[in-house]
Amino acid sequence: MPRSTFVYVTYIRTTPEQLWSALTDQEFQKQYWFGVHCESEWTPGSSWKMVHPDGRITDAGEILESDPPRRLVIRWRHEDKPELKAEGDSLCTMELEPTGRAVKLSITHTIERESSKLITAVSGGWPRIISNLKSLLETGSTILASGSKR
């Protein structure tokens, strides 16, 4: 089946519980996600939406799986730009796996179509978000301030 996938893997010196709360806590998210936060109950079946600092909701969906602090699956649909919205649902899977003194965080984003614009769009953001998240958890501060967003 044709599909577009990206995979991001990083190792963060923290505990699965802390990483889970960093991924699901609004105030924490704003610190590493350039002001963006996600609203959800984080339980299977609950709605999920991504809210920008100006209140815009660009992406929305539903929590398909939630197994704290191990696995989170989000049905993710872009709602803002028409050409990305037309691509429909994508799946974002976050897996947390303890490895020694660190936690392996794997983020996989997949859509069942070739050369997806949505996947290209989100792939530009994830490395900087993840890098910021790692820095925040390991050192208590982010490398990239929201002003440096390009």
């Binding site: 599909r3 577009s4 996938t5 990206f6 995979v7 991001y8 893997v9 990083t10 190792y11 490895t99 020694g100 660190a102 794997s106 996989t108 490395p127 900087r128 993840i130 890098s131 790692k134 490398i143 990239l144």
Partner: protein, 111 residues
Amino acid sequence: MTKHLQDPDLLFHALADPSRRKLLDLLYARDGRTLSELCEHLDMTRQGVTQHLDLLEAANLVATMRRGREKLHFLNPVPLQELYERWIAKFERPRLKALDDLKKRLEREHA
């Protein structure tokens, strides 16, 4: 293997080889490829390509996923982002500012 994964020496070592950089370019062009697909583009044995991929995976530059009987290889750009922030961004910022100051001064002198 985990202790190597945070090792910057391993990251630079992984990047310091033309075949491994070619593998990264191939995955950048199209992600999620099998070993056989990657072998088609490199003039070396299957075993040689496997060794390069193992080293890239140890440096966390390549992530693998199983799909049925196939093992798919994906480019993981997170260590490159960290490398960029650590070794490029912080050095280029003052230089770009110096260049900008120079430009402003020269333009002021011309005005």
